[in-house]
């Protein structure tokens, strides 16, 4: 199958305003309709990279950034780019689920409404579809008007995934989205990801390496802000070329 580049990262450096160099000369390509896994030990820069890709670090602590990030060939940091439109195209799910202080339904409708969707039927359909994709529909379909906080931690995490799916984005970034999930829901979401990648490009920073190995079409290993090695999931997790990648994988696999 022909692979289409979706996101191209060129010589990216990112330093927080306290001087922490979180990304050092990172160059990589993320392909459409694949699941790309970025993994590595804590503090490796995974979250930073995801936040740079949808420009969430714009307002925050970013001191300096050099290099380019291209989405479909367009520099996302170019002046003419509308940040809100970009964030709708590139959705992100955070490690810590954060429902908005609204009802379940309103949490999901929030993004589409901001994007101008007013049609009640369309919104209802989005709510059901995205909750189903996030493996949450059956658990909450009778209590959509309850507060988003009335859910368990794992359910909140799936709510946040559903909220992003309702945006109908092109790219979904997931930062440890399953850290609070039981094995059953994890399996459900992994299943659903295999379907979703037909429609979307998925970048995921899983919280454990077994999961990384299970879902990866493509994988990249980050260590202290540097991209050490990348390749297909199969190659990277069975025959890593770099000693450091191998050590990390072996260390975890026991």
């Amino acid at each position: 199958m022909e692979r289409t580049p979706k996101i191209v990262i060129e010589h990216l450096n990112f330093t927080y305003d306290d001087g922490t160099e979180s990304l050092l000369d990172v160059s990589s390509t993320i392909y459409a309709n694949e699941i790309t896994v970025i993994f590595g030990p804590a503090g490796g820069g995974k979250s930073t990279l995801l936040r740079v890709i949808n420009r969430l670090n714009d307002l925050a602590a970013g001191k300096s950034m050099t290099g380019r990030v291209l989405l479909d060939g367009q520099d996302i940091y170019a002046k003419e780019v509308d940040v809100t439109a970009l964030r709708r195209k590139v959705g992100i799910v955070f490690a810590q689920p954060q429902p908005l202080p609204l009802s379940l339904r309103a949490n999901i409708e929030y993004g589409p409404r901001l994007a101008g969707v007013r049609d009640k039927q369309k919104l209802d359909q989005l709510v059901e579809q995205s909750l189903t994709q996030a493996a949450l529909w059956d658990e909450v379909k009778d209590r959509l008007n309850d507060s988003g906080y009335a859910l368990s931690g794992g359910q909140q995490q799936r709510l946040c995934l559903a909220r992003v799916l309702a945006l109908e984005p092109e790219v979904i970034l997931m930062d440890e989205p399953m850290s609070g999930l039981d094995p059953l829901s994890t399996a459900k979401i992994e299943d659903s990801m295999q379907q979703l990648k037909q429609l979307y490009t998925i970048v995921i920073a899983p919280h454990n390496i077994q999961q990384a190995a299970r879902v990866a079409d493509n994988a990249a290993f980050f260590l202290q802000g540097r991209l050490i090695e990348e390749g297909t999931g199969k190659q990277l997790f069975t025959k890593p070329k770099d000693k450091r990648t191998e050590d990390y994988i072996m260390g975890r696999f026991g």
């Binding site: 307002l59 709708r88 955070f94 507060s147 906080y149 909220r163 992003v164």
Partner: protein
Amino acid sequence: MNASITEHKRTSLAEFAAERLIRGSGIMAIVFVFLIFAFLLREGLPAFTEVPLDNLFSARWYPIEEYYGILPLIFGSLVVTIGAAIIAMPIGLLTAIFIAEIAPRWLREILKPLIEVVAGIPSVVLGFFGVVILSSLVRETLNLPTGLTAFTGSVILAYMALPTIVSVAEDALDAVPRSYRDAALALGATKWQTIWMVTVKAGKSGILTAMMLGIGRAIGETMAVLMVTGNAARVALEPGALFMPVRTMTATIAAEMGEVAQGSAHFHVLFAIGIVLFVITFLVNLVASFAIFRQSKRSARLLS
């Protein structure tokens, strides 16, 4: 084993003493409030028998000729306070939003202590400023016969309420976790949409408290109001009332208490005004805490 048991005994003695001390001070505070209220009642209640009620609740305040109508004073207080609230609440909220959400860090570091300083300006100084500068400004720009009006009082009171509103509301906004903002931004909200629909919403009960504290300060204020409102006791239920001189309850008490004969009807009426003021303040606080209580229950439902 033995040692540790006696040691425990000693700390629990200290704990006992501390608890008694704290409980004692608490009870004392409550007792004082009741004593003050009892005193107020003792001096004020006779007014209701000495002065016929239709005189007391008339529209004419002219104690020298034994007209003791307190309606104009209540009216004056209401106009000035509501005017102050209308001015101070939106400005206070917007300023808090500016400091908490928009201003760059260095500017915030300057503005926050500056607001504390403003809060410390004595009200006589503000009153002086009001008489000398603000009142002539009001008179000239609005082309009025006098600049000492209810509106001038509202502006000064709003200015006094602002520091409280701004700093408490700013704290409330600041306490909203960053992840709320990230969540909204990531769903394609603009900075303003995030502020209005998420940050302000999440900080709602703190913001409400800020408003109540600010207005609470305005209701009880005496000195500045006495100086700038023109002290004309009358009920003017007409559109221009805001731009005419008025007299508030607090100003009346402050101005007349010094020269009245103790035990006279006038003296008792002044205390009766105190009772009215007390009741109004009490009701406002009751409504406010009820609103905040309901608010917090709702947000607890939403946030837990």
